[in-house]
């Protein structure tokens, strides 16, 4: 049973009119529909934030967890049921700030999970504090003199940690986003899309127009060239490249675990009595 894009869109959203989140949601719904994934086959995991409300607005399995903690349950869920298509979707604060340690270390694990970050360069839900990707100088209620630290570059970071699929998209380029999401979902291993997303309520710097004027689609010769990918990932400012900068699978978490071959663990039968020979170790 698969559906049309509209059918994936459930619930009444609580986002602000004009927000980039809407386009991301539509792109995701479109990607799922075009991939022919039925709702029960997909699991959407998120943390807390505006972006992280997405499991309430896409009618697949959902785990709306804690702020910063979207990746760990996603890995666990994948271990239990390798048949699930697991997608993690959350905000920049959630993914790179509170959740930074999981971000780094899960890239190393390389689970077969697609990670879509709504990067609005601000903490939306808590009303506009700086996020790890905020532009230096951005003033907020907490950063009263403006952001003083250099922004975290999620794509460079992912590359350095060994990610096999690294892409940048923009919510204002919905078709490109949808196409990239499909590739990320199909990629065998951890796939990151950092999605530039205007926040009309709190980010007055990186507006839709600001992004629109800067994004471009570079021709990417070989998305297997790490150095070229690193260069692209570091481009920011007047010209912001979009696209899949790196795409090179390597052994996944699931492949490296003997126990994960075969039927999903969740559905394998079990009878404790059969394990009584475990005691032999202690005789």
């Amino acid at each position: 049973m698969t559906c049309k894009a509209e059918h994936y869109m459930t619930g009444e959203t609580a986002w602000c009119p004009g927000c980039g989140n809407f386009a991301i949601r539509e792109a995701l719904a479109g990607a799922l529909a075009e991939l022919g994934l039925a709702p029960h086959q997909v699991l959407l995991v998120s943390g807390i934030g505006q972006a992280a409300k997405i499991p309430h607005y896409i009618g697949v399995n959902g785990f709306n967890g804690l702020h910063g903690r979207a990746l760990p349950p996603a890995i666990g869920a994948k271990v239990a049921n390798t048949d699930l298509k697991v997608i993690v979707e959350s905000g920049d604060g959630d993914s790179y700030g509170e959740g930074g340690n999981h971000f780094m270390h899960n890239i190393r694990r390389n689970p077969d999970i697609a990670h879509f970050v709504h990067d609005n360069q601000v903490y939306g839900l808590t009303k506009g504090q700086a996020s790890p990707t905020s532009e230096p100088g951005m003033k907020t209620g907490v950063q009263v003199e403006g952001v003083m630290v250099s922004p975290l570059n999620p794509l460079s970071l992912a590359l350095v940690m060994g990610a096999g699929f690294v892409a940048r998209c923009f919510s204002g380029e919905k078709d490109h986003l949808k196409a990239t999401m499909k590739e990320a979902i199909n990629f065998p291993g951890y796939a990151l899309i950092d999605i530039l997303q205007p926040c009309v309520s709190f980010n007055k710097i990186n507006t839709h127009g600001w992004y629109k004027n800067r994004v471009y689609f570079p021709e990417i010769q070989a998305p297997q060239d790490w150095t070229a990918a690193m260069d692209l990932s570091r481009q920011w400012g007047d010209q912001i490249p979009l696209g899949i900068f790196y795409n090179k699978p390597h052994r996944t978490f699931e492949e490296s675990r003997a126990a994960l071959k075969g039927e999903p663990l969740s559905f394998r039968p079990f009878n404790p009595e059969e394990l009584s020979s475990l005691q032999n170790d202690f005789l």
Binding site: I48, N61, P72, P73, G76, A80, P272
Partner: protein, 566 residues
């Protein structure tokens, strides 16, 4: 009729391996014993020791008094000779140090030299064990067998150790003969020689646990090691998380998506899990959390024992939600009780704690075979037809428990869980009515849980005047204290809690009404169970015997304190 051995030296001298083999060999021969460890938070050097007590039946504790002191260095002799019995013996290496003038209990064995001759200094322990066997009037054969088994894959290691063992045996046999009478062998069938962490690891695996995510932390790491070793042959995944936050959240993801999952840690690591515990409560996700306690606060005494996290665990995680707290009392019981933790977690869809401590985790005992047919594997999932469609994860029911299905299990049905307050479908809500209904629903589970709790174990005089109350790993020592007090004519009983929350109160209330004197014995400074009892029942315990120096109780400490109280 019993023998108490202490073997001491520096960390890294390899005492553990050989003592484990000795213990196993003795149990194989039919002796009942207990083997405990006292070790420092370092890798080499310092002063570590282990105690072995071989006594009639299956002893519950090791004692302070020493019959054979194996002093791998002088420090061991100096620290422990005060507790050596007048007829005791000291196995020591005369090339390393001399016993003081007038010390007539020495059994000199050239441990280092014989070990080097056998193939390496690290085998000094093995030499010492050889000597020990002489003193106990035993042969080397069973230990030899085990050495062969254990080192089957490491070429030459078994042979070298056997040489060392025999050299020690021969050397000691030249200067003395059996000077301790061992208790008679038990005739009660095959026994395991197993420590607490192994009991829990095996119980988890046999309960169908298929995912353990954890971060190394003494004294819980042994559980991780056990399951990791088994992951080569059994369908269990062990993942070392980047931190404890990841550990608990991973486990929750795995549980949500369908397997029995567990995490294990000690106090500091558990502190980091508090938010995840709250998430388990809100999302109603089954989870078993083993906390192996050690003395805090903060890093505290990493390799020592305490029971000081009970109150923290009872209230850990912000907000209010139902939980169950069980504990490890004896090796016999803990196996089934951890299984109960898994069963309760699945049936009540809520976090269940299992409290262990270093004392339980690191202690080996001789225990009977477990009956695996007593273990439950009831996942308590709703069958097709037993849930409304479209599926509602949080359907409101009288028991508070909603029918549960797994993501991906039924075509067309999705499972949504949410850390925000939510409606029956799992979608965020903010209205007062739904909020109240959901709190009430979750809290109703406490009623069911309360009925699942086992009353505390009662042992001792059937009409006691003195009641000793305890929980967790003090089971054995309080039991021995009760025996000793009864032997002194004091009508004593022990009421020992395995299940702690919701606190079972029936037996407690009736006994407290009867006895003249009640006393709560805890390895902590606060008297935490005692406070919990007062909070829940309004009843006050007369006295607390508290120990918080990182060491387990000794039976005579309890006996003395109880007698002082009376």
């Amino acid at each position: 009729m019993e023998v108490n051995v202490l073997i001491g030296g520096a960390a890294g001298q390899g005492m553990e391996t050989i003592m484990n083999l000795l213990g196993k060999a003795l149990v194989k021969e039919g002796f009942g014993l207990i083997y405990t460890k006292d070790y420092m938070s370092r890798v080499r050097g310092g002063h570590n020791f282990t105690r072995l007590r071989i006594a009639p039946g299956h002893p519950w504790t090791t004692l302070e008094s020493i019959d054979v002191l194996v002093a791998l260095n002088e420090e061991t002799y100096l620290r422990h000779s005060d507790h050596l019995t007048p007829t005791g013996r000291v196995i020591y290496d005369p090339q390393l140090f001399n016993l003081p003038e007038g010390e007539s209990r020495g059994v000199p064995v050239e441990l280092k030299k014989l070990a080097e001759e056998a193939g390496g200094r690290v085998m000094a322990n093995t030499v010492a064990v050889g000597a020990l066997l002489v003193l106990m009037g035993l042969e080397t054969s069973t230990v030899e067998e085990l050495l062969k088994d254990t080192f089957a894959v490491k070429e030459g290691v078994a042979e070298k150790n056997i040489t060392a063992l025999k050299a020690g045996y021969d050397s000691a046999a030249r200067s003395c003969s059996a000077c301790f009478e061992l208790p008679s062998k038990n005739q009660d069938g095959e026994k395991l020689f197993i420590d607490g962490n192994q009991v829990l690891g095996m119980a988890a695996l046999a309960s169908g646990c298929r995912f353990l995510s954890a971060y190394p932390m003494t004294p819980a790491t042994g559980i991780m090691n056990y399951l990791a070793a088994k992951s080569l042959d059994y369908p269990v995944v062990v993942e070392q998380a980047e931190d404890e936050i990841a550990a608990i959240n991973m486990a929750l993801g795995a549980s949500y998506s369908g397997v029995r999952a567990m995490t294990c840690t000690s106090g500091g690591g558990f502190s980091l899990m508090a938010e995840g515990v709250s998430l388990a409560g809100m999302t109603e996700t089954p989870l078993v959390i083993v906390v192996a306690m050690r003395p805090g606060p903060a890093t505290g005494l990493p390799t020592r024992t305490e029971q000081s996290d009970l109150e923290f665990i009872l209230h850990s995680g912000h907000g209010e939600f139902p939980r169950a707290v069980l504990s490890a009392t004896s090796h016999e019981d803990a196996f089934y009780r951890l299984n109960k933790a898994f069963e309760l977690a699945d049936r009540y869809q809520t976090p269940v704690f299992f409290l262990s401590d270093q004392n339980f985790a690191d202690t080996h005992r001789s225990v009977g075979l477990y009956d695996f047919s007593r273990l439950g594997y009831n996942r308590a999932l709703a069958a097709e037809g037993d849930f409304e469609k479209p599926y509602k994860r949080y359907r409101i029911t009288d028991s508070g428990i909603s029918p549960r299905i797994l993501p991906g299990q039924y075509e067309g049905e999705v499972v949504l869980i949410d850390s925000d307050e939510h409606d029956e479908k799992g979608n965020i809500i903010e209205d007062a009515y739904t909020r109240r209904a959901m709190v009430d629903k979750r809290m109703r589970k406490l009623k069911g849980l309360a009925e699942e709790m086992d009353e505390p174990d009662l042992y001792g005089d059937p009409h006691p005047e003195v009641l000793l109350i305890g929980w967790g790993s003090t089971y054995g020592v309080i039991r021995e204290a009760v025996d000793a007090l009864i032997a002194r004519g004091i009508k004593t009983a022990m009421l020992h809690f395995s299940d702690l929350w919701p606190l079972p109160q029936k037996r407690l209330r009736s006994l407290l009404a009867e006895v003249d004197h009640s006393c709560c014995i805890e390895n902590n400074a606060g008297g935490q169970l005692s406070r919990l009892i007062r909070r829940e029942s309004g009843l006050s315990i007369d006295n607390n015997i508290l120990k918080y120096d990182g060491r387990p109780f000794l039976p005579n400490e309890i006996v003395k304190e109880v007698q002082n109280d009376l």
